[in-house]
């Protein structure tokens, strides 16, 4: 669609409030509207699937000023003056996996993450599904990666010692008359899109395999290659393997600005000083557009879309062994509508929903969104009950208006690589995307006349924290004999020992927060939600780090757990 046509459409809809212009890489919308929804409508109108151009949103929405980016308060000069071959901005699954692949080369690489841990944004706030790719049509960047990446998961998770299960996925249809159409659809997916595990299963099979699913399902699209993984554990594992292979990870470190001259990033100002990277990789999630702007290479826009997922008590784990959702003719095109998933830890996740938002990092939950999800998912499994919820969480997807990835070199800034717009199936595609970006980065470095040689001592194997509750009695006994701390159970709900908690705060990427321990070894994830173990975990952290208990943090800055001692102080050693 050419720009004149678009402007006519916009005029008709917005009466001159929004106008479109274009440049070599983008269609730019500017003007002023009254609602976020109007802005979204305008930007979607400008999307042209046949063109290469991305939509850039310069529309002002009256009454809405999105919050300022939350930055670490702590500032120092620990990185000041340092030179790097590669600086990756963003410690989610994209940044961490790329960092690890880059350590196959002798490059000096650093990952900058503004939060106090990896995977604290979208990468740690999703259901961990490793998608089979059946819901994506040919033509998108994300589709080009999904099947290939899905097949990589066994190897990657084995190397990184991260639990992964191919549980399979059912997309159920109650409208039996759709069978012939859906069957054709599955053929297209199998033979044209390469999703070769796609098949149709009928009512009887569904009932045998998943007796608690909606008995009204006439048939389902079944993909045995669908799987589940813990998304934050995978991100952390990638990051740790990268550090073990010589890369640097800087947490609580935000990028403030960049010096760009003659289409080249000369330096990057961070909250820990000014660094001089040869290549910058923009893997900043919801902030990718902001980073692109800093790098004078903004040619796409991100519109955040949040989703909330509920976690059910392990006792309800029997409701589903795999991944399932109900499909109806008609429905959202941009959200899969959520489903139910059995995790590697035997919880069941329900959700997510999809709600457009102006806030990039507001992770609050609402009663309404849980209700919406449950109302829908009771059609997937009728025995689903809100009473089984032990907790819930929200994540924010970084979506471009084209609803596809932006993986390419900078358009105007030559030493920049964008890995942006990574929404679902971003977790799934990460291993394959990382390999491609590794290639792109090495090529770029070579073009910039940097000597890039293979790292002969690269070791893809990373050993995770031992999980004693899953070991055989003999193996567990051995661990306890070597270290009695493994025999002291601290988290009763998830059966986690003091030894494992200490392991969690002594990893290659050092995170000594209550949430960091929770993510790595699970205290606080059980039915008591940390009621019993949080005080003990805090004490273990305080003792190991030799800091006063009140300085122990839940997660980021400002989350110190206490305001000081009581009049009597600690009564005795627990």
């Amino acid at each position: 669609m050419n720009i004149k046509t678009l402007n006519k459409k916009l005029e008709k809809r917005f009466g001159g409030a929004v106008i479109a212009s274009e440049d070599e890489y983008s269609v730019i919308l500017s003007g002023k509207v009254d609602s976020w929804e109007d802005m979204l409508s305008a930007c979607y109108m400008a999307v042209d699937k046949k063109s290469d151009k991305h939509v850039v949103n310069d529309i002002v929405v009256s009454g809405i000023t999105p919050s300022k980016t939350r930055l670490p308060k702590e500032r120092d000069k620990t990185l000041d003056g340092e030179q790097f071959d590669v600086a990756i901005i963003g410690g989610g699954i994209s940044g961490a996996s790329i960092l690890r692949e880059l350590t196959k080369w002798n490059v000096k690489a650093v990952l900058l993450e503004k939060e106090s841990d990896l995977a604290l944004h979208a990468s740690g706030r999703n259901d961990g599904e490793v998608h089979p790719g059946v819901d994506l049509n040919k033509g998108s960047v994300k589709q080009s990666y999904v099947v290939k990446a899905n097949r990589m998961y066994d190897k990657v998770c084995k190397e990184l010692d991260v639990p992964f299960k191919r549980v399979g996925q059912y997309a159920g249809f109650t409208q039996g008359w759709l069978l012939p159409i859906v069957w054709l659809f599955t053929l297209q997916r199998r033979f044209l899109c390469g999703v070769d595990d796609t098949r149709i299963v009928l009512k009887k099979t569904i009932k045998e395999r998943e007796p608690k699913l909606n008995r009204e399902f006439a048939f389902a699209i079944y993909n045995p290659m669908a799987g589940c993984v813990s998304p934050y554990n995978l991100t952390i594992a990638y990051g740790e393997n990268a550090v073990e292979n010589g890369a640097k990870v800087c947490l609580d470190t935000a990028v403030l600005s960049m010096e760009v001259k003659n289409g080249e990033i000369k330096s990057v100002e961070t909250t820990r000083g000014r660094i001089f990277p040869k290549v910058v990789i923009n893997a900043a999630g919801c902030f990718a557009e902001d980073v692109a702007k800093m790098a004078e290479d903004r040619f796409y826009s991100i519109h955040p879309r949040r989703g909330t997922i509920s976690i059910l008590d392990k006792k309800s784990g029997g409701i589903i062994k795999s991944i399932a959702s109900i499909k109806k003719l008609g429905g959202h095109s941009h959200s899969k509508g959520g489903g139910m998933l059995h995790t590697v830890h035997d919880n069941v996740l329900v959700g997510p929903d999809a709600v457009e938002t102006s806030e990039k990092e507001y992770f609050g939950t609402t009663r309404e969104s849980i209700q919406t999800v449950f109302d829908k998912q009771k059609n997937t499994a009728p025995s689903l009950s809100e009473r089984d919820i032990i907790t819930y969480f929200t994540g924010v997807r970084a979506a471009t208006f084209e609803e596809d990835y932006v993986i390419c070199r900078g358009k105007r800034t030559k030493n920049l690589i964008h890995v942006a717009g990574i929404q679902s199936p971003g977790l799934t595609t990460a291993p394959a995307v990382a390999l491609d970006v590794e290639k792109m980065t090495v090529e770029l470095l070579k073009e910039l006349k940097c000597d890039v040689e293979r790292n002969e001592s690269f070791n893809p194997i990373r050993k995770g924290i031992p999980n004693l509750a899953e070991m055989s009695e003999e193996e567990r006994e051995e661990y306890i004999k070597k270290n009695p701390d493994y025999g002291i159970i601290v988290c009763r709900c998830e059966e986690v020992s003091k030894g494992e908690i200490l392991d969690a705060i002594r990893r290659p990427i050092k995170v000594t927060t209550i949430d960091g321990v929770k993510k790595r070894v699970r205290p606080g994830m059980g039915r008591c939600q940390g009621g019993f173990c949080a005080p003990i975990v805090a004490k273990i952290i305080a003792e190991n780090e030799n800091i006063p208990l009140e300085k122990v943090r839940k997660s980021g800055e400002d989350s110190e757990i206490a305001f000081g001692e009581t009049k009597g102080g600690a009564l005795y050693d627990v």
């Binding site: 507001y362 609050g364 009663r367 701390d485 025999g487 110190e560 757990i561 305001f563 000081g564």
Partner: protein
């Protein structure tokens, strides 16, 4: 060696049970997951424990110490920092796998007493939404931080739930120099003991707000405020009544849940009314040889009765196994629950506990067997938070398998 009775939990119920077993000539073993015996009493430094049993006002640790001393004197074996991961039924009784700092121990026992206490209901279980800052703590966790670890997790807080633990913490936080902005209760009547309302709230000028709840929290790293709403009769928030209260702590005292995970794996039935392990007058669960005691059976409000239930279970566990013929005790619509919920055909004088469903005046508790009254007691006032104890003699009638035992709270004749 095979222990006569293995007691899981070294809190007040487990301690009393162990002493009773020893007194009956048996060999008990206490398995305790913390480093010290005493259970939750260790952190209950307020007094009021033991009024019934010892006619004294003891603190939690002092009450526990009375039993711990005896346990030590009697040479009763205990395992601390010991966690039961697996229990299997055998022909002799039970085999337990226990994780300890000295390795995994295998314990054989003829009988089991599950004295595993409760856990606290969480913020998510009462639909509190918003962000996830630090500062939202269950009252027990807050109590641990303040009393055991000696730190103040909050300086200005809101307490949700007028259950006893919340009331105790309201006073505790105030005594340590914190400010309690109010106790908010979703029900129209307070949940805790009357004496706690007066000694913890009234005495300290802490306001109690009824029919209100917290629906949302704000804050990034640390809590900055909560949103409070009025609620209707079904305890659902009423739109339009939201108020924001700035605070750095939200202490939750929204109910205790008997902890019976191990028991459920053995197949014990959970009572739909008392929410703990369903049992008979000997505190034996629906699985032969497995007994329950203390808060794992139902949430007690006096530790004296917790000890009593431990003793009953301990004594009963030392008796020979018999084929049980159990008769249900049916509670009426005025009764929240009766424990025990079943009695043996051979039952004699039994201790029973009950809670009313509402605030009642001038009621009489009546137990009938096939229509014949065998027990009657008048109560001028009954409230759900105040658990009542009665002694019923079932030998007054001939119990049969088909007997209908009914427990009613009727209007008292004036």
């Amino acid at each position: 060696m095979t222990y006569d009775v293995c007691i899981i939990g070294g809190g007040p119920a487990g301690l009393a049970a162990a002493l009773a077993v020893k007194e009956e000539g048996g060999t008990p073993l206490i398995i305790e997951r913390e480093g010290e015996l005493g259970g939750i009493l260790k952190q209950c430094i307020h007094d009021g424990f033991g009024l019934v049993r010892f006619k004294e006002k003891l603190s939690g640790p002092e009450y526990a110490e009375r039993f711990i001393e005896k346990v030590e004197e009697q040479g009763i074996e205990t395992l601390t920092f010991a966690f039961v991961t697996k229990i299997e039924k055998t022909s002799q009784g039970f085999t337990l796998k226990v994780v300890t700092k000295d390795g995994i121990k295998t314990v054989e026992a003829k009988k089991l007493i599950l004295a595993t206490g409760c856990r606290e209901r969480t913020a998510k279980q009462v639909s509190i939404h918003g962000t996830r800052p630090w500062g939202v703590l269950t009252a027990g966790a807050c109590q641990n931080f303040v009393n055991i670890q000696g730190v103040m997790p909050t300086k200005r807080c809101v307490i949700l739930g007028s259950g006893d633990i919340g009331l105790i913490m309201a006073r505790r936080i105030t005594l340590e120099g914190g400010k309690v902005l109010g106790v908010f209760e979703a029900k129209p009547t307070p949940s805790g003991l009357t004496r706690n309302i007066s000694q913890c709230l009234d005495d300290f000028g802490i306001p109690l707000y009824l029919s209100k709840t917290v629906t949302k929290v704000f804050g990034d790293g640390r809590l900055t405020a909560v949103e409070v709403s009025d609620v209707d009769e079904r305890m659902n928030p009423i739109k339009g009544t939201e108020k924001i209260i700035e605070c750095d702590g939200l202490i939750l005292s929204v109910g205790l849940i008997p902890e019976n995970e191990l028991g459920e794996k053995l197949g014990i039935e959970i009572s739909k009314t008392a929410k703990g392990a369903k049992c008979d007058e000997n505190f034996e669960t629906t699985v032969d040889g497995v007994f329950t005691a203390g808060n794992a059976t139902h949430v007690n409000d006096l530790v004296d009765y917790v000890s009593e239930s431990g003793e009953i279970a301990g004594r009963a566990a030392m008796k020979e196994r018999v084929e049980r013929v159990l008769i249900d005790v049916e509670a009426d619509e005025n009764t929240l629950y009766v424990v025990p919920e079943t009695v043996n055909k051979t039952a004699g004088k039994c201790v029973m506990y009950f809670r009313s469903k509402g605030d009642f005046e001038n009621k009489v508790a009546v137990i009938t067997v096939d229509g014949k009254e065998i027990f009657s007691k008048k109560y001028s006032r009954l409230r759900p938070p105040e658990m009542e104890r009665i002694i019923v003699d079932f030998k007054k009638v001939d119990l049969s398998e088909k007997s209908e035992i009914k427990f009613c709270l009727k209007e008292a004749e004036r």
